[in-house]
């Protein structure tokens, strides 16, 4: 043991020196995202890689454009893809029972709606029965019947909204010009368009099934579902054309940014108000303390020498 033991300060200094001596010299450059990209491209070009090729390599490396494209596709067509996949599964199952165009009709008994399927039910693997309650889980999953079409439209809407949130969040994270106000406006307009398209698709599917019911006729399972998918697509495209220059999003963005500015101004006024209140409070407290102190001193003096008064 070394005596006297080294002081804590000396020990701390030595450990700092040891840490510093590990590095000979360190230069730190701070670059923002565009600067970093430019540096990367310049380095690649100095290595003899053409600029176009370097940009392609950068895209491949980050994988951002691919992610954005995939999410964008899923956002726009997530609902349609989901319905198409379910339709394909359903079609495969119905084909087992003899016909791909297996028909169904809706009937009401004791106030309950039933979906009756035609064809040989024993050959089917998914829709094994001939009669299902309209609220049956399988019917709901495949969008057969009015209630199920509603549930399918709702879940399709949710799928598209989830992808829209992801896509816009990625842009918010990586695109410096894409602010929180853009995130809100893009998401709001996307949700609005998806909701309108989903509702239109649902109404069309229900309308077709109801039309057949009026004539007491059976209908192929795939007919209302396919019509619903295409109506949602046409309405979605119609909305995109109507809002081609993103007028809705721009208007919303302007409004939010106006409010943001006003809140900023309000913030300054609020801070001024808080500062004034704190200052005045401080003055008031000091004044009160002084008064209290003086009254205590006066009382003490009275006790010590009451004869003086």
């Amino acid at each position: 043991m070394v005596y006297p033991p080294p002081s804590a300060h000396a020990y701390h200094q030595r450990s700092q020196l040891e840490a510093a001596s590990k590095y000979q010299q360190v230069d730190i450059y701070t670059l923002d995202a565009p600067g970093m990209v430019e540096l990367w491209l310049a380095t690649k070009q100095s290595e003899g890689v053409p600029k176009e090729e370097a940009i392609k390599q950068l895209n491949d490396l980050t994988g951002l454009s691919v992610t954005q494209e995939t999410l964008g596709f899923a956002q726009n067509y997530g609902s349609t893809i989901k319905s198409s996949l379910l339709l394909a599964t359903l079609g495969k199952d119905l084909a087992r029972s003899g016909s791909l165009f297996t028909q169904y009709y809706i009937t009401t008994k004791n106030g309950k709606q039933y979906i009756i399927f035609k064809g040989n039910h024993k050959l089917r693997k998914i829709i094994k029965g001939t009669r299902y309650l309209a609220t049956n889980t399988q019917m709901m999953k495949f969008g057969i019947g009015g209630k199920a079409a509603k549930a399918a439209a709702r879940s399709g809407f949710l799928v598209s909204v989830i992808f829209s949130v992801s896509l816009n969040s990625i842009r918010w994270l990586f695109d410096e010009e894409f602010r929180w106000t853009h995130w809100i406006t893009h998401l709001s307009t996307d949700v609005l368009k998806i909701a309108i398209a989903s509702i239109a698709g649902y109404l069309a599917a229900v309308g077709v099934a109801a039309g057949a019911a009026v004539f007491a006729a059976s209908i192929p399972v795939i007919l209302p579902i396919t019509v619903g998918i295409f109506v949602a697509l046409v309405v979605g495209e119609g909305l995109s054309i109507l809002d081609q220059d993103n007028r809705l999003a721009k208007k919303l963005l302007e409004t939010i940014e106006d409010y943001e500015k006003k809140i900023g101004e309000l913030d300054e006024t609020l801070l001024d108000g808080v500062y004034y209140t704190v200052e005045e409070g401080k003055k008031f407290a000091i004044r009160q303390m002084r008064l209290l102190f003086l009254s205590k001193v006066r009382m003490l003096r009275q006790r010590l020498a009451p004869r003086w008064f």
Binding site: F73, A88, L100, G211, A216
Partner: protein, 175 residues
């Protein structure tokens, strides 16, 4: 075959949906195809590739299928054989429409990408140029430098043909 008011209403609804699936998509299909060809033939510096028309053949077939079904519906009770034939035809059309939707989506994009590449265009990252991110639309330029040109970004907003012509004039007149 007696057509009550309810039945007439139902038929009207079905025909309306059928027409809705045919008329706007047919118009958009012709319009977009014409625009794509015009853009390529004019050789604009910056062009927009739109591939929405890939969905519309499917939509038109689905619309026709629905119309066939609607025509057969009044005969469901009086002529079940005729109705069954209409149902089968309509079912095949719906099937074809779904297949066309998938083929059209992939095929159209592949076809136009090839056409644009052959014409010497390179694809830009459109989110850098415009604030509209749509999966069925992409921006292509004759030179990659145009994709990062702030003048191009400033001039583009809704990607109309007028805007693309303006951008072309700006870039053509540069020294």
């Amino acid at each position: 075959m007696v057509l009550t008011l309810k039945k007439i209403g139902a038929l009207f609804l079905l025909f309306s949906i059928g027409i809705f699936l045919i008329a706007p998509p047919a118009y958009w299909l012709v319009l977009e195809l014409g625009e794509q060809h015009t853009m390529l033939s004019h050789g604009y510096s910056v062009v927009v590739m739109r591939t929405t028309h890939g969905y519309w053949p499917g939509s038109i077939v689905a619309g026709v299928g629905l119309l066939v079904f609607s025509f057969g519906l009044p005969f469901a009770q009086s002529h079940p054989t005729a109705y069954k034939k209409a149902l089968t035809a309509s079912g095949y059309m719906m099937l074809a429409a779904t297949a066309l939707l998938i083929i059209g989506t992939i095929g159209t994009k592949a076809y136009w990408q090839n056409q644009f590449k052959e014409a010497g265009y390179v694809q830009c990252n459109e989110t850098k140029l415009v604030d509209i991110n749509r999966i069925n639309q992409s921006i292509w330029a004759q030179k990659m430098a145009y994709c990062n040109d702030p003048r191009v970004a400033r001039s583009l907003d809704n990607l109309s043909r007028e805007e693309l012509e303006r951008v072309h004039r700006i870039l053509e007149n540069e020294p």
